[in-house]
């Protein structure tokens, strides 16, 4: 009997210990970095080893991909082993500042890092209600109309793409439409009309070549992936009304009424583009198959671009590595062009924005920032600061950022040359100040995916007939209603 008393007590004891957790051991690291970009998770381990070899400080890295990162960070940051430096995006700062975890520039102890904070350009700063400076940008990302330059040169008989790039940047939406139609007729019939860009005439060659014979459509569109049009295309109508993330957050809900015409126009642009979509074995038409995730997903769209089935794809500089996995040749030939919109100056209420500027610029933004945990001890903060400074300024750190992470550093200048041609284009646009912000980031709730993108997918992409004006107006009204009701809950 006695033995069973003991075993019983042991069972109970164990279960109690198990429940309380065994959190008594000391931390076995000096810096804990909570990363939110899964693409660089592996490289970060090497960074940690390198940093330890150099300074003797141990870095623990924990990565959760962007979509789920804030959920995990919420519990992680409240635990005993909290991160001393963590990642957030431009809009997430609102939560971390309110909860008291985001350290402002003024609280930074490392003077050199403080100077780095100050060197972040105003437009890229991580601010709370338009004030402060809470983080160092991971990188710059951007999106636009990605094109295969070799394909364009082949079809248009060009020796060099630079002139085309210049003319395309200056072209307006009507010229863009003519170009698409002409390219489409080339794909379907082997010949197309001449078209002009910026008043310069371009001729379409006669007959297919071995490089162009696989083309099935002008544009690769991932119809099944709401984010590719919900998030990115949605930024254009929003840019006509709001200038930045903070502009959206601070404005009155009524301002959203101005979105109506821009939204309707953006839908018409999408209708135009979807008439020329490339597919695996021929053009894809709008209908159920257009949003079939096994036919028109993101990967399939990338594949069509990589395998010379499409000339263009509207997406960001991050597609480079995916394209490269399929075709190194195509990846090397990618160029970034601005997305053309049909907006006129009357539709635009954003201060300082014009239709001309909108048509020659591409949106560039910071995906994540390094933020120092304000609730960590002084010692822990100092070590975290040293690490962030080292990663962003030392030769080794910068080498990691450019070559291993394949990032565009936020302070990149014209001298910087990267493997990814799309990233080089981002730097060019940045140097020329042909930039749009990404006010879309601040769209209330999941507006891009659950309103704008959802209506496009469910009501428009499935409809092969032309989209009626009443229908577009109804969708624009619903989008604005959702926007406003999303703002109420802040």
């Amino acid at each position: 009997m006695k033995a069973s008393y003991i075993s019983m007590a042991a069972v109970i004891g164990l279960s109690v210990v198990g429940l309380c957790g065994c959190g008594n051991k000391d931390k076995d690291y000096d810096i804990y970095f909570f990363n939110a970009k899964s693409e660089i998770a592996e490289s970060l381990e090497t960074v940690a080893d390198e940093y330890e070899a150099e300074t003797g400080k141990k870095v623990k890295v924990f990565t959760v991909g962007t979509t789920e990162s804030s959920e995990t960070l919420r519990s992680e940051i409240k635990s005993k082993d909290y991160p001393t430096v963590f990642a957030t995006n431009a809009i997430g700062i609102e939560e971390w500042k309110s909860a008291g975890y985001a350290l402002d520039e003024s609280g930074i102890q490392n003077e050199q890092l403080k100077a780095l904070y100050e060197s972040v350009p105003e437009a890229l700063r991580l601010q709370f209600e338009g004030e402060g400076n809470y983080g160092i940008p991971y990188n710059i990302e951007g999106y636009g109309l990605v094109a295969n330059k070799q394909m364009l040169m082949e079809i248009l008989g060009l020796d060099d793409i630079e002139q085309f790039k210049e003319d395309y940047k200056a072209a307006d939406y009507t010229e863009f439409q003519d170009m698409i139609r002409s390219l489409d007729s080339y794909i379907k019939e082997g010949a197309g009309d001449d078209f002009t860009l910026n008043n310069r005439t371009y001729q379409v060659r006669n007959g297919k070549t071995s490089y162009t014979e696989d083309l099935t459509g002008v544009i690769a569109i991932a119809g099944a992936e709401k984010w590719t049009y919900g998030n990115h295309y949605g930024n254009y109508p929003i840019s006509a009304v709001y200038s930045t993330v903070y502009d959206v957050r601070e404005s009155e809900p009524e301002r959203a009424d101005y979105l109506k015409t821009p939204i309707i126009k953006s839908l018409k642009e999408l209708e135009f583009a979807t008439n020329y979509a490339a597919g695996a074995d021929g053009p894809v038409e709008r209908g159920a198959q257009f949003i079939n995730s096994t036919a028109t997903g993101y990967d399939q769209a990338i594949q069509m671009l990589a395998e010379h089935k499409a000339i263009f794809m509207k997406n960001g500089n991050w597609i480079y590595s995916n394209v490269q996995k399929i075709s190194d040749e195509t990846a090397k030939n990618l160029i970034m062009l601005p997305v053309k919109t049909s907006l006129s100056d009357e539709d635009i209420v954003t201060e300082g924005m014009t239709a001309e500027k909108l048509n020659r610029s591409i949106p560039e933004f910071v995906s994540q920032y390094y933020v120092i945990n304000a609730k960590a001890t002084e010692e822990e903060r100092r070590e975290a600061e040293d690490f962030v400074y080292w990663l962003n300024t030392s030769d080794k750190g910068i080498d990691f950022i450019i070559n291993d992470f394949a990032f565009v550093p936020f302070n990149a200048d014209a001298d910087m040359k990267l493997d990814n041609p799309l990233s080089n284009d981002l730097i060019t646009y940045k140097m020329a100040d042909d930039l749009l912000a990404n006010p879309f980031d601040a769209a209330p709730g999941s507006w891009g995916l659950e309103s704008y993108g959802k209506y496009i997918m469910e009501n428009l992409f499935t409809q092969s007939e032309a989209w009626s004006d009443e229908q577009l107006e109804e969708i624009a009204d619903k989008c604005i209603k959702d926007w406003k009701s999303g703002m109420e809950e802040w």
């Binding site: 109970i12 279960s15 960070l73 939560e95 959802k454 469910e458 802040w490």
Partner: protein, 298 residues
């Protein structure tokens, strides 16, 4: 032995009790409390502690005004009705077939049970491929000899998507329910059927007057299981349709609602979870008491 259990009962349940309290009861009470506050996940709005951020029933009012929540609620009810009927009909029919089979009974049972071993997410992705490619492009497409337009592009149509989900859910759980029904069928004495046959009852009469009433205990279990299963479905919903075309169910709605505001409105999500709990509790209790009464009558 009985004496042993009597004496040790209280001590033996302590580990389970502690676990239950810590893992279920404490979060449950905290959850209900937080649903009345302006909880933002990592902090309470305007205060260090929850009692400083009490918001009364604001969260609940917001929930009932939320179009998304109400749409999800209605869709969940619709789906539950469709799925419960389909699962019960399919599993009972299969059970009766398997009972008739002489040789290889075990083989059939095993095959029918297999889908139940698949996880919800994996199954959702597998079926999304089946619906989008096998159904739409091969089996029931226009070029196929068995062209059935209803079974094509089921995931891209608001009216068909609910049946796509129900087909998948039935495929998954019918095998499990079959085992319960089969057990019930085996417990019906053969002499009842013999006596009925001698009295001239036809097959339908035998089914209606003997099989159904005698199956009531099994039916109680299956009905209860399928009802709560369908009502609480999450993984399959996420993987198969991700709530597109109006197929967002309550669980998915709760999951996604923390991503719909910035900063995330956990208080409101929690209020939805409380309402969800009450609904399930009410339905389950009502349903169990109803079927219990039926059992006695039978």
């Amino acid at each position: 032995m009985e004496k042993f259990y009597k004496r040790w009962f209280n001590i033996l349940i302590i580990p389970a009790l502690i676990l239950f309290v810590v893992v279920i009861i404490v979060p449950f009470i905290m959850g209900i409390t937080y649903s009345f506050t302006a909880w933002r996940g990592s902090y309470f709005k305007g205060s260090e502690h929850w009692w400083g951020a009490l918001a009364g029933v604001t969260n609940y009012i917001k929930v009932f005004r939320s179009e998304k929540f109400l749409t999800a609620l209605i869709f969940t009810l619709k789906f539950t009705v469709v799925a419960v009927i389909m699962k019960n009909v399919a599993s009972l029919a299969m059970a009766m077939m398997v009972k008739k089979v002489g040789k290889g009974k075990g083989l059939f049972r095993t095959i029918y049970f297999f889908p139940n071993l698949l996880g919800g997410l994996a199954m959702g992705f597998v079926w999304s491929f089946i619906f989008q490619n096998i159904f739409s492009l091969v089996l029931f497409s226009e070029d196929s000899p068995i062209h059935i337009p209803f079974l094509c592009d089921m995931l891209q149509d608001p009216n068909k998507a609910i049946f796509a989900m129900a087909i998948m859910a039935t495929w998954q759980s019918a095998g499990y329910m079959l085992l319960i029904y089969l057990n019930g069928l085996n417990n019906i004495p053969d002499d009842l059927y013999e006596a009925a046959s001698i009295d001239g009852a036809n097959a339908w009469q035998r089914f209606k007057n003997i099989t159904l009433p005698m199956l009531m205990p099994a039916f109680t279990i299956v009905f209860f299981l399928t009802l709560s299963q369908s009502f609480k479905m999450l993984d399959e919903n996420l993987a198969l349709t991700s709530g597109n075309f109006g197929t967002r169910m309550l669980s998915l709605q709760i999951l996604l609602s923390t991503r719909e505001n910035t900063p995330a409105n956990y208080g409101m999500a929690q209020a939805q979870a409380v309402i969800f709990f009450i609904l399930i509790a009410v339905i389950s209790v009502a349903q169990v008491s109803v079927t219990k009464r039926k059992e006695i009558e039978a």
